[in-house]
Chain length 452, copies 2
């Protein structure tokens, strides 16, 4: 009977984060000032982030030590299990060996606490008493709420109004962990008030919520801002996932041919991929890397690689990313965590260099894959993670076609216990199969700044 | 840094269930025929249960082998972790060492799949193609739905209508795993139709749902009935919990002074306690055992030890239990899984013999304990499990008072991701502190059969 679950002892929780910037064959394009279009220095970010995180953002050190206080909290759920999907393999009748790294065991039920805890720690170290952030469906907000509860930091979450009203459970989770949550647009910021004057019924959007949280942090001495994906230091913190997976594959006496992750902002895919990518960059392994994105928001597969803003309002520095345009509003798919107009610059750089492949899928085939997974492996996946499952299943079936064995690992980035309404819609045939909204993208691309 | 999580390898999943009936100092009182009041034989249960489960119900073998097919499915989540509650200990500033056995890692998020998988297996072995059951909030229904999906058995769940409408998420879970779910009272049974004729708006009750599921099973050749707690064979299957915990305490180099479990029907408490009770019965250990029940449904602490029916309709055999009367309808507390008028006969027998202690708590202090736990240990507990946490915290504070170290273990029987609305009510101060409904109990006790 093949071992199914590979658990590392707590002593094997990584002692360092892996910074792939140190190993890139070519340096990634620098972030630019939104007005001058000149490369910006760390100081530009100082009003929003603690200095230690800014240093990590621009660091070229290969390994950055994880503070003991952070590792202590990681022990609540880390090392997370690597699981052999024996039930799924049997159902697919494939010669492929499928593994998944399961991040749903964390307090908030996703990979997000890996960086939330680190960010809360560095804020605490620098005397920050309060953190403001935004959240869509609540995956990030609940993770930061948990992290702040561990370090006694006040946390204010601006939650997109439509989610605040339609998905109360993650709001409850944030409140249970002691955060204050307000529906965005709110009356608490100028940005929010201005929008509410124009449109009192506004459902809000991630872009609006970001503007509110950034304004909150910029206006208050005691408050900093925190972001749950996209930035280099966020991807850095997620590399605990891949580092553990490498050790767990040693336990299993196996090694992946393909590493799969769903990609919205890019942090969970990067977290699993980057430690494995090191060996590929060094030419020691020819592992394939596959990012799976939603057909309705296909930044890698359909976007242009050029400078754009990270937020809808255009407040952030300009970053070179595969983008659909910062003004692009993706359709309201259930995988809310993948509804980002661009992609983490580091992941984009590696994609442009040919180290990573990408595919896009509509949501029905992803839910079909997730449902098969739930029935064979017993775990209900988050809608975001269902994209990685779809990618892994396609790889397994391709291996069957080709009659070759293939070792596949994907990041099961979160569970779906708080997303069961989405499964209701799928099972009832109510899910619209989202397609690539070409017109809206073309419109949004018109607003992009032109960089000489 | 003390180890926090103790994981056993899959090879340590118990090979046998422990049957405490073999070690009881005095034999438990026999079940009686509802009409004749004569002891009943196994054949009386044959229309409802497969023979192998009936044999286990009356077995006096100490160890009953777990079939490989069942252990294979247990490997999805077992062995479950034993966790040292270091964060909670710190918050309580107690000399006590607190551990919890976490059953929330199972597919359905509670201990219920331990018996659901075994029951589905034995039904499959005896050619049963379909199983009917009832569920309140859905913990049991979703567990059996998962188990049936593993053995390709059709599953029909009669779900109490008020939960069916107010708690759609566990219904979604059952449907995701391929079960058909109907609101009870339904149009599918005589019992259901009769009640709907009288009261078309009926919210339903567990008692009504049981009657519907039992009728369904009794009327159809291809269908058996399945129960999620109370019966001997159900408690038997749960003993994997305590057997694993004993091995994990060896890893920890520790041993519990107090074993705590919440008690509704009794299966999760028994599952953790029985393997530890063996050493106490043999006089080798003087471990204490504490069952924690809700103040609104205190069968052990306030009930009478006498023969009563297991269901509201009075269809089941008579069993000697601490009971509040089978006609007693407990208040609608959030810990739906603890709303049972009596208690598992085996647990009652051990309680009457002085091997087990019991306390009752209202729901607010239990949610207060659960909230502290969520903030210190990072896991959101099921409302049922919050009673065990409250019991464990009181033990830890008593140890602090007495200035003694004390080793406490409790069964964290499930997570609360599907119960967050209850936390909303608690945090908003909307929770009514339930008390002992003495009047209603006195009324219900009038209907009990008098056994010579």
């Amino acid at each position: 009977m093949a071992t199914k679950k590979f658990f590392l002892p707590e002593s094997e929780i990584p002692t360092h984060w892996y910074n792939i910037a140190a190993d890139l064959p070519t340096p990634p394009p620098p972030p630019l000032h939104p007005a001058t279009h000149e490369p910006i220095g760390p100081e530009a970010l100082a009003p929003l982030f603690p200095m230690e995180l800014i240093k990590q953002e621009v660091s070229s050190e290969r390994y950055i030590e994880i503070p003991d206080e952070v590792r202590e909290i990681y022990r609540i759920w880390r090392p997370s299990p690597l699981v052999r999907a024996t039930g799924l393999e049997k159902a697919l009748d494939t010669p492929a060996r499928i593994y998944y790294k399961y991040e749903g065991v964390s307090p908030a039920g996703s990979h997000k606490p890996n960086t939330a805890v680190a960010q809360a720690y560095y804020n605490k170290q620098e005397g920050v008493r309060r953190i403001a952030t935004e959240t869509g469906a609540g995956q990030w907000g609940s993770s930061l709420a948990f992290a702040c509860s561990q370090f006694d930091i006040e946390c204010k979450v601006y939650m997109v109004r439509i989610s605040y009203e339609q998905k109360p459970y993650r709001r409850s989770l944030m409140q249970l962990w002691g955060s204050s949550v307000v529906a965005s647009p709110s009356e608490d910021t100028n940005a929010g008030r201005t929008i509410r004057e124009k449109d009192p019924e506004s459902n809000g959007s991630l872009g609006i919520a970001i503007s509110e949280a950034v304004e909150d942090a910029a206006m208050r001495e005691d408050t900093k801002y925190s972001l749950g994906s996209v930035l280099n230091h966020v991807l850095l913190h997620q590399t605990v996932i891949g580092q553990e997976a490498i050790k767990q594959f040693e336990m299993a006496g196996d090694y992946p041919d393909v590493v799969v992750g769903c990609a919205g902002g890019g942090s969970n895919a990067a977290g699993l991929m980057f430690p494995f990518l090191k060996a590929k960059i060094e030419g020691k392994r020819d592992t394939r890397f596959l990012a799976v994105e939603p057909a309705s928001c296909p930044s890698l597969t359909k976007g242009e690689y050029r400078y754009d803003f990270g937020d809808v309002a255009g407040l952030t520095p300009l970053m070179k990313m595969y983008t659909l345009g910062h003004g692009f509003m993706p359709p309201g798919i259930h995988a809310g965590g993948l509804r980002y107009h661009a992609m983490a610059p580091l992941l984009c750089h590696l994609y442009s260099e040919g180290f990573i492949e990408a595919v896009a899928h509509p949501q029905n085939p992803c839910f079909e894959a997730a449902t098969l997974f739930a029935r064979t492996e017993g775990i209900v996946p988050a809608p975001e993670s269902s994209h990685a499952i779809k990618g892994a299943i396609d790889e397994a079936m391709a291996a069957k076609e080709a009659g070759q064995s293939r070792v596949i690992v994907f990041n099961l980035s979160g569970h779906g216990f708080l997303d069961l309404a989405a499964y209701d819609d799928y099972l009832a045939g109510r899910l619209v199969d989202d397609h690539y909204p070409e017109e809206k993208v073309r419109e949004a691309m018109k607003d992009l700044p032109v960089i000489a």
